[in-house]
């Protein structure tokens, strides 16, 4: 059994540029977060497009996955170019997690600086952060060459939790307290009804992290029970 919470909060910009998508079936879970670059005019569209393509693709695939197994970045680029649009205007990061419930395999992947945090069984939380130069300077989809995800594959025995975020949240998380954060989130939100969890999570986000920087803030947290 798995539970999840998700949120996407607008930052100080007039339009939200993050996009998130969550998919769950009997066999698998897919979580995708994309962060459109503030400097790109159409980045919100780029972020939504890659989220849709990723869920369409990953819902039919099973981890482990290598970068060349994931065709969505190529489709993303082809789709934008086929509409005679300029790729630079659609720049977005993208991070994902896919959990195969049956085989207990997990794959996490990243293009750009949207951080992912993963806890397998009782091991400490693993961080997947891009070693970027400075805040808001990141690799992204939208250049002239097709980008490939950096992927990591894992297997768990009994339990798994994963947090996929945009950098507006992920960059603000203290590395030394990630295990406590995972415990806090899963124990707090498990006690609420599935329908109300994300609403409550969004409310808590707005009351805390929302004001620490100008960025949009998105997150999907999944935990096994």
């Amino acid at each position: 059994m798995y539970s999840h919470i998700l949120t996407s909060i607008i930052g100080s910009h007039p339009n939200v540029q993050d996009a998130i998508k969550y998919y769950e079936s009997d066999d698998s879970i897919v979580a995708v977060v994309a962060d459109g670059l503030g400097s790109s005019k159409m980045s919100a569209h780029g972020a939504r497009l890659i989220c849709r393509l990723m869920v369409e693709e990953l819902s039919k695939k099973k981890p482990p996955l290598s970068p060349s197994d994931i065709l969505s970045p190529k489709k993303w680029q082809e789709y934008i170019e086929s509409n005679n649009c300029n790729l630079d205007e659609f720049c977005t990061t993208c991070s994902f997690a896919i959990i195969d419930k049956l085989s207990k395999n997990v794959c996490i992947g990243q293009i750009g600086d949207s951080p992912i945090f993963l806890k397998l069984d009782n091991d400490p939380v693993i961080e997947m952060r891009q070693e970027k130069e400075f805040s808001n300077i990141t690799d992204s989809l939208g250049g002239k060459t097709i980008k490939y995800f950096i992927t990591h594959n894992y297997k768990f025995k009994d339990s798994v939790s994963v947090l996929v975020t945009s950098d507006g949240i992920g960059d603000e998380l203290n590395s030394s307290s990630l295990d406590s954060l995972f415990l806090y989130l899963s124990s707090k939100y498990q006690q609420f009804t599935p329908k109300s969890r994300s609403r409550r999570f969004t409310k808590e986000m707005k009351a805390t992290i929302a004001k620490v920087n100008h960025d949009d803030k998105s997150a999907i947290f999944i935990w096994s029970i």
Binding site: H13, G38, E131, N136, E172, S180, Y184, K188
Partner: protein
């Protein structure tokens, strides 16, 4: 009772500002070093007035002069910790060593973490470089994190190393030409404005600076 606040970094994102000033012998002429000392103090005081709960301006102050010496008078620190030294002018103009020292700071992720905004680097000089600059400049502009910095400079008078400074700045308009001590004051107003713009911008790393918009203040101009 726990809340999400317990798990987040409790410090605002850092906006580093690194200033390197010329204290070589030629700065002793026409009141330049006195004007520089005054302008630098005003600059630090103006920055202290910038308030933002999302960004913390941090400042590092370097100077170059003496026997091709580069010294760091203030390590990169919050403005409340900055105390301006009174410079005296003597010696040479080691611009190559200066940008190497600044690069070393920028590349150090323990001092400027990835979470920080790209630094603003400011150089002010009135002379030809007395050490090798080509390799240092190429490395600063093209390699590593320093290549992402906002690079602003002021050339004081005809003897300044214009070619070096033209090549150093990130945009041609970020090189300000000055003739006199009063221009130093005006230049620091431009730097203050640029830092202020970035501090209050929603996208501090995409701000375009313009020297044209800096107000002049003839009333308290320094008379040489």
């Amino acid at each position: 009772m726990a809340s999400l606040n317990d798990f987040i970094i409790q410090k605002a994102r850092q906006l580093p500002v690194i200033v390197a000033v010329d204290r070589s012998g030629s700065m002793s002429k026409n009141g330049k070093i006195e004007a520089l000392n005054l302008a630098l103090k005003n600059f630090v005081n103006s920055l202290k007035e910038e308030k933002s709960d999302k960004i913390e301006i941090q400042l590092a102050l370097y100077s170059f002069g003496g026997r091709d010496e580069v010294s760091c008078e203030n390590e990169l620190s919050p403005l409340s910790c900055i105390e301006c030294k009174e410079y005296t002018a003597s010696g040479r103009t080691p611009l190559g060593r200066t940008i190497n020292a600044i690069k070393q700071l920028i590349e150090d992720r323990t001092k400027i973490p990835s979470r920080a905004y790209a630094p603003t680097v400011v150089i002010i000089t009135d002379g030809e470089s007395t050490d090798e600059t080509a390799q240092a400049l190429a490395s600063f502009k093209n390699e590593g994190r320093s290549s992402k910095a906002y690079r602003i400079a002021m050339a004081i008078g005809d003897d300044a190393d214009i070619d070096f400074l033209k090549s150093f700045v990130s945009e041609p308009e970020y090189l300000v030409m000055g003739e006199s001590a009063s221009d130093i004051k005006q230049f620091f107003k431009f730097v203050t404005m640029s830092v202020s713009q970035r501090t209050h911008s929603l996208t501090p790393d995409s701000v375009k600076l313009s020297v044209q918009n800096v107000p002049t203040d003839d009333d308290d101009e320094i008379i040489l």
